[in-house]
Structure formats: structure tokens, C-alpha cells
């Protein structure tokens, strides 16, 4: 079961979830820019985890290789289609963030989707975002202390806003029954039956 390929239904469902999140990403960018403008990149760092929600949620639901990367690319693509004013950075970040989260799931052979792994994926995602922005916006020109501080805030944000919040959202979604034909939904039903017995 762990080594199945994504089928058409997986891809379309991932597309819809990521597109919805892509719109939220765009709104979050506006908020993030305000916070960054006022408090600098460190304040913005605390918001970074939100942009890793799509790979965490989709990988957790589908539990197949490629889901995380695809989800983040589609979320980024939706942002661009909806008219993001930072299309280039968004696409680059979408690729690096999705890839980083994907690597974490691959390390666990797409078998373990518990909270620590999801948090790790979120942290990897924000770490990749940090590296990408380090290159793009010339962080090497700033004092080492503030760059490290920023990295730390981003990684904390990745664990909480992406890993923890993403899991709790997907867990709430699975109770509605719409995910019954996906790995997460099946696990939830099995758990319920076990409890009933």
C-alpha cells in the first residue's frame, strides 16, 4: 500500500485542496508583508509555517510518494494564476518547500505519518524556505545573530503552523467522511471500528 502511485482522483483532490490553500497563502502573504515591513524578517519568520500547510495536509491524507511536492507546486501555481505579485519567488519557494517536505516523508518510506514526522516535514519546509530566501534576498549581508534568530523562528513556525495545525485540520476533516477513500480516512474508520469492538 505504501508504494502506490498517485492516480487521477488523488491528483484532482490534491489540486482542489491545494488551490483552496493557495488562495489562503495569498491572503497570508499580504498579512506577512505587513508584519515583515514593521517587525522585519524575524516577525515574518514566525508566519512562515503557514505556507507549508498544503504538503503536510495532502501527504497526510493521501500518504503516497509525490503528494507533498505536487501539493506545494499546485498551491504555488494557484497563487500565480490568481495573480500573485511575487510569482517568481512563489514558484521557486513552492518547489524548494515542497521538495523538502517530500524528502522527510521519503526518509520514512511513506509509512509513518505521525505528528512528529509531520512536524519534521513542516520544519524541513520552512528550512528550505529560509535557504531559498537567504539566496534570493541576500541575507548574507546581515549580522549572523539576526539571521540565526530568523532561522529559529521559521523552524518553530514550521513545526507548529504547518505540522501541528495541518494535522489537527486534517483530523477534523476526516471526521466529515469525505476522506473515506483515502489512506487517512481508512485509518480513521479502522480505528473507530476497533474502538467499537
Amino acid at each position: 500500500m505504501a508504494n502506490k502511485r498517485l492516480n487521477l482522483r488523488d491528483i484532482v483532490v490534491i489540486s482542489f485542496i491545494s488551490a483552496v490553500l493557495g488562495v489562503l497563502y495569498l491572503l497570508w502573504v499580504l498579512l506577512g508583508q505587513m508584519v515583515t515591513g514593521i517587525f522585519g524578517p524575524v516577525g515574518g519568520g514566525l508566519m512562515a509555517g503557514f505556507w507549508i500547510l498544503a504538503p503536510v495536509i495532502c501527504a497526510y491524507i493521501v500518504q503516497k510518494p509525490g503528494a507533498a511536492l505536487l501539493a506545494e507546486l499546485i498551491a504555488a501555481g494557484t497563487e500565480v494564476m490568481a495573480g500573485s505579485v511575487s510569482a517568481g519567488a512563489v514558484l521557486l519557494l513552492g518547489f524548494t518547500q515542497g521538495l523538502a517536505a517530500e524528502i522527510i516523508f521519503a526518509v520514512f518510506f511513506y509509512r509513518v505519518f505521525r505528528l512528529p514526522v509531520l512536524m519534521l516535514a513542516g520544519m524541513a519546509g520552512t528550512f528550505a524556505a529560509f535557504l531559498t530566501q537567504y539566496m534570493l534576498y541576500g541575507f548574507s549581508q546581515y549580522a549572523g545573530s539576526i539571521v540565526v534568530f530568523m532561522l529559529v523562528t521559521m523552524i518553530i513556525s514550521g513545526a507548529l503552523l504547518a505540522g501541528w495545525a495541518g494535522k489537527s485540520f486534517a483530523d477534523a476533516l476526516v471526521k466529515t467522511g469525505v476522506l473515506d477513500r483515502f489512506a487517512l480516512g481508512r485509518q480513521y474508520r479502522e480505528g473507530q471500528q476497533r474502538n467499537a469492538v
Binding site: L8, R9, I11, V12, V13, I14, S15, F16, I17, S18, A19, V20, V23, L30, Q33, T36, G37, I38, G40, P41, L70, I74, G77, T78, V80, M81, A82, G83, S84, V85, S86, A87, G88, A89, V90, L91, L92, M135, L136, Y137, G138, S140, Q141, Y142, A143, G144, S145, I146, F169, A172, L173, T176, V178, L179, R181
Partner: protein, 252 residues
């Protein structure tokens, strides 16, 4: 309004989306190595001029869109002044006993302008490329799997419906007397039914695609052909000239 801009009869709108995407990443790449003020400033002005003349986008709209980035860019300046990697020698003045050096302001302005260059090239892409032509070109020229491309388009078309569903959810909550909660809680509680609706819609869409014989294979005839044209040659030539003059020739 965005759609009207994206389909205008102007030069940039005719250029193949894949080429515009490539040019975007090329500019990003070359900008990474720039730490002076004049290069990003020149690129920014040229880009804004290109969008307004070659893309027939009103200058006023462009400036309004770039305004938030000016604020974002300014954060690089003060950050560079307060937390520089290396404090410059030419101290201009003091703010609360903290020396403000010319070199740090220059680096900060350069990084701020760089962020604005990224924004302006992104605008060049976004304001002149329609989503459909972008996805179609990616499928036809960059071998994006059609199942992903069409899935994305279906999802994108579904998005306007979200707002209606949010209104329905909100009214349903009001009828049940749950309307007086703080907005943050409401957002969280509306998020789950909203996403559940999206997943249901996605499953129906996938079923419809399958039942109509769409299996995601690449060997299909297409209604819209995204081929390279003469404008693409001109764009590529112009872009190579631009990169050579601004980044590769030693002008300083």
C-alpha cells in the same frame, strides 16, 4: 480586470508563457550576485517601462501594485542599518547613539531594490499571461502531465464558488444561533466544511474526467495549440540583449 489585461492585444501578451517564465528565473539568477544600487535600479525602471509600453498596462496600476513592495523593500534598509554583517566606515549620522553608515544604507537600498525587481518581473509575467495559456503551454512544451494540468485548471475554476459556499456556511450558522463567536473561531470552524465541500467537488470532477475517457495520457489532439511564433524570437533576442547589457558587460 486582470483577465482583460492578460488578453490585451500587446506584444508581451503574445509571447509564449514558457519563455516569460524562463526569463523570470534568469533575471532572478543574475540578480542574486548584485549588491550595488545602480543595477537593480536600472532593471526596475526598464521592467516597469517594458510592462507599460510592451504590455500596455497602465503605469498608475503598476505603481499601486508595487507600493506594498516599497514598504517590504524598506524593511531591508533599516534592517541593514541596525543589523549589518559589517558596519561601514562612513558614518553619516547617529540615531540613539547608533552610527548609521553610508555603506550599510547602500547595501540595504540595493537589497530593497532587488526585492522590487523580483516583484516587477513577477508582475510582467502575471499581468500578461492568462492562466489557461500558462497551463496549456506547460502541458504542451514542458511535458507537464495532463492530469495535473487539467486538475489544476478545474480547481482554479472552482475557486470563485468558495466565496458563495462561505456565505452559505455563515448563514447556516446564524440560523442555528452560532453567529456571535469571535471572527477567528468562526474562520476555523468554517474551514472544515469549506474544505469538505472542495474535496467532494474534486471527487465528482475526477469521476467526470474518468467517465469521459480522460486517462491523463499525453497522446491527444488539442483545440488550443501553443506553438512558438515570430514574437517569441523577438522577445528572446531582446531579452538576451537586455541581460548582456545590464549584467554581463562591465559598465562600472
Amino acid at each position: 480586470m486582470l483577465e482583460e489585461l492578460q488578453t490585451r492585444e500587446a506584444f508581451l501578451q503574445q509571447v509564449h508563457p514558457t519563455l516569460k517564465l524562463l526569463s523570470l528565473f534568469t533575471v532572478f539568477f543574475f540578480m542574486i550576485f548584485i549588491y550595488d544600487i545602480w543595477h537593480p535600479l536600472a532593471v526596475l525602471l526598464l521592467t516597469v517601462a517594458a510592462i507599460s509600453f510592451l504590455g500596455k498596462v497602465p503605469l498608475k496600476l503598476l505603481l499601486i501594485l508595487l507600493l506594498p513592495f516599497a514598504l517590504f523593500g524598506f524593511s531591508f534598509v533599516w534592517l541593514q542599518v541596525v543589523f549589518p554583517e559589517e558596519r561601514g566606515a562612513t558614518v553619516l549620522f547617529y540615531v540613539f547613539h547608533m552610527p548609521v553608515a553610508l555603506e550599510n544604507i547602500q547595501t540595504g537600498v540595493s537589497l530593497g531594490l532587488r526585492a522590487m525587481v523580483f516583484a516587477s518581473w513577477s508582475l510582467l509575467f502575471v499581468l500578461t499571461t492568462s492562466p489557461v495559456s500558462l497551463v496549456m503551454s506547460l502541458i504542451q512544451k514542458w511535458h507537464m502531465p495532463p492530469s495535473i494540468g487539467y486538475g489544476m485548471m478545474a480547481a482554479y475554476r472552482f475557486l470563485p464558488q468558495l466565496r458563495k459556499e462561505l456565505v452559505v456556511i455563515r448563514r447556516a450558522r446564524q440560523i442555528r444561533g452560532m453567529g456571535s463567536k469571535p471572527r477567528m473561531r468562526e474562520w476555523k470552524e468554517a474551514g472544515v466544511p469549506l474544505m469538505a465541500g472542495a474535496v467532494r467537488k474534486a471527487e465528482r470532477t475526477a469521476l467526470a474526467m474518468e467517465s469521459k475517457g480522460f486517462d491523463g495520457s499525453r497522446k491527444r489532439t488539442r483545440y488550443v495549440q501553443m506553438n512558438y511564433k515570430k514574437t517569441d524570437v523577438w522577445f528572446t533576442a531582446g531579452f538576451i540583449l537586455f541581460i548582456t547589457v545590464v549584467f554581463l558587460l562591465p559598465l562600472s
